[in-house]
Amino acid sequence: MKLKTLMLGAAAAFALAPASAMAERGSDGEVKIIYWQAPSILNPFLSGGTKDVESASMIIEPLARYNEKGELVPWLVDEVPTVGNGGVSADLTTITWKISSGIKWSDGSDFTSADVKFTYDYCTHPEGGCAQLTKFENVESVDTPDANTVVVKFAGPTPNPYGPFVGGESPILQAAQFANCLGAAASTCTEQNFNPIGTGPFVVDEFKPNDVITMSANPNYRDPAKPAFAKVTFKGGGSAAASGTAVMETGEFDYAWNLQLAPDVIAKMQEGGKGTPVAGFGPLVERIMLNQTNPDPNLPEGERSTAMHPHPFLQEPAVYKAMSMAIDRPLLVEIGYGQAGKVSCNWVPAPAAFASEKLSCDTQDIEGAKAMLDAAGIVDSDGDGVREHNGVPLSILYQTSTNAVRQDFQALIKDWWSQIGIETELRNIEASVFFGGDAGSPDTFQKFYADVEMYANTFNGTDPQAYLGNGLCDKAPRPDTQWQGENISRFCMPEFDALHAELTKTADMAERARIGRELNDMMVENGGMIPLVHRGRLSAHANSLGGVVLNVWDSELWNVADWHRIDG
């Protein structure tokens, strides 16, 4: 395999030059990437899927993106505009981007501000269903005073103006290529959506939807020495376990994405000696959401799991606090995630400024939990081993998606809760149904026809304002929103809503962080959720692949131009 790669590299290069780290463009042959979810389109504006966004990020690029530390770095511009350098107006309503000179599209034409403005028009076209519309929320207009300047005007003061054209989910499309694909025509432009012309290090040779993408180095890439690889094979499909094996044990592939596997399984694969797992921590948290409303199946459809009927016991502080205290989080981390997990008591564990340190939960306290329930008068009055609250037994339906690690968590947590006198019934639902969002299915996580449910959630970028908005009362899924909405636990607290409104008006970073931490504590302490594990993203790369920097704040393939072959 390695020999073959080297030979291909040699063939692609001019002579039998040794494959050195910082060689000229295309000298390192071919790199093979495997994503166990296959990309189906290369236009992130028409798909919210991570697999599509990340595969497209090798071809089309944003003006600026986040690095592995979550800091903004200029990408197609000279510097990131701030209030300090005058790029962002003092009243926080405009941001001015200066495009670097000499950037060309892969077809040789010049990259100009007109392309950026076109991208805005493309996504905000009223007839087009743009998946990244939230990135352009609050944008009033995009102006282009000259070919290298883009001015984005917001409807009001925007403390975080880095939504449009920043990050892998908001790249720039070429105006000339997509001119006829506006609005309703967007999804019919198969040729454009499958072969977008970009500024990135690679160009598409052939795209087979839901299967494989072959790419080659972009001859017009701005850095003449990059990318080191002449060809890319981007394979999609399979399972996390199979792709991990392909990189770490058999060495068929160079990079495998998002390996959500138990730590002992990863460790076993690593013994194969062909690759190394890398972990990065973003704000992803595995949590148990507590239903604030009553999911009783005897309630009529349309009232079940809505604010009309509060939950019989989950709003009781002693109950949710005891449930949290009974959980041995370090053990969960050890069993489920290993190096890709940390104990978390927070809804927003990262970035560091927003991570609250007020709560602690890393020791299990079964006795304390029992005492707390006893003190609150929630005792087992009929001797069946299950406590009652106002005559209602603490009997819980606990659902999650089908995943080996999650089922292990369920079994453990059921055991701990049974020790403090809470009876649990487990259910697992196929992930495509659970996260499918189909308003007609009773099994989606939004409908929440269960007392508690476990899943992980995160946010993009480094500003959690929108994410913290998931605790707002009016964001609760309910029949008149077609069961859409992000406030899964139906958390409703006027103080929270008021404080969040204050956050949207605050510009000072330190103050924003303070409010953010307070919102986080409010949610957790009032029983909206039980955070369990701060999860990292775990990917694996071949030992012979250099330059990989795992980035959880942007596309994992953000620096693919720097990847190169090393002797390993």
Partner: protein, 326 residues
């Protein structure tokens, strides 16, 4: 008939009936004798009895709770591993080792077998009843033949997995409310397996009934005014018993495999309720390190299904009077 008269003359020696020296043999005794000659069938029956008894009585002898977590004693190997690897983690308290959460493998195997066998037997019996009924009715009543056989074709084209997913969505809630999470799911799975597996039985039975009902003895029965119900019960059913028994044996095997496949896919029983298929599914990612976790339930499924197949094979030979005795 008539009372023997004491003064009747002595019968002529040559005309006297010779009393049968052996007691008469029943049909079932013949069947049993034939079955005993089939080594595979004897093995199959023996194993089936063994495994059925093991899962029925096992939990009273080996009283460990299969769902009990014992995280400090996780990842134990089976005791026999110590023979070639003295350093392995083994213990007499966990004869077949424990899984990644410290649940006892032997206890899980027994409990899992209980679920799998119960599903297998129940689904087999139900599909047998449906299949035989449809087959006999279609074969005997000409007017119903067409519609019933088209119905059979319709069911044959139903894919079981999507059907089960839909059924789970529709009926889980009411069944769970009435029979509990495990009972409700049991009923659902048994019903679905049964209604998607009765068709081969129905077709075979119909074919046999069609042939038998034209035979002289049926004609004779009809000519003396026997009702269709009696003809079916007295003359047809006993004669189609052998294909029914065979398809019963095969049906049991299919039902166990289908249940395992469903558990393997994570549809069905709650995740902490052990079945053989579930144990297999959980063990796949750690197959290299702990092969026994795949092998034990896998062997249990294979041997049960194999033994049932052999038993069915033997029964077919034994129940056919033309083969019997050869």
């Amino acid at each position: 008939m008539t009372e023997p008269v004491a003064s009747s003359p002595a019968p002529i020696e040559a005309l006297k009936d010779i009393e049968p020296s052996k007691p008469p043999r029943s049909q079932w005794k013949d069947v049993w004798d034939q079955l005993r000659k089939h080594k595979g069938a004897v093995f199959g029956m023996g194993f089936l009895v063994f495994i059925t008894l093991a899962v029925l009585i096992g939990p009273y002898i080996y009283t460990v709770d299969p769902q009990k977590l014992d995280i400090r004693n996780k990842d134990f190997r089976p005791i026999y591993t110590a023979i070639w690897d003295g350093d392995s983690k083994v213990g007499w308290n966990k004869p077949l080792g424990s899984d990644q959460l410290g649940r006892d493998n032997l206890a899980q195997l027994i409990a899992g077998g209980r679920a799998s066998m119960a599903v297998g037997w129940a689904a087999m019996l139900l599909s047998l009843v449906i299949g035989t009924f449809i087959g006999v009715v279609a074969g005997y009543f000409k007017r119903l033949d067409g519609p019933l056989m088209r119905l059979t074709d319709l069911f044959l084209s139903l894919p079981i997995l999507p059907l089960l997913l839909v059924a789970v969505t529709l009926f889980r809630q009411p069944l769970r409310a009435n029979f509990g999470p495990e009972g409700g799911m049991f009923i659902l799975i048994v019903t679905i397996i049964a209604i998607t597996s009765w068709m081969p039985t129905a077709r075979i039975v119909r074919g046999d009934v069609l042939a038998i009902k034209e035979r002289e003895f049926v004609l004779a029965a009809r000519s003396i005014g026997t009702t269709p119900g009696r003809i079916i019960g007295r003359h047809l059913l006993p004669n189609v018993l052998s294909p029914i028994m065979v398809s019963a044996a095969l049906g049991l095997a299919t039902a166990i495999i289908t249940e395992s496949a469903l558990s393997f896919l994570g549809v069905g029983f709650p995740s902490d309720f052990p079945t053989w298929g579930k144990m297999l599914a959980d063990a796949v990612v750690r197959m290299e390190e702990f092969p026994e976790r795949v092998l034990l339930p896998g062997i249990a499924i294979s041997l049960t299904v194999l033994s049932v197949n052999y038993l069915g094979d033997g029964l077919r030979d034994a129940l056919d009077p033309r083969i019997r005795g050869r």
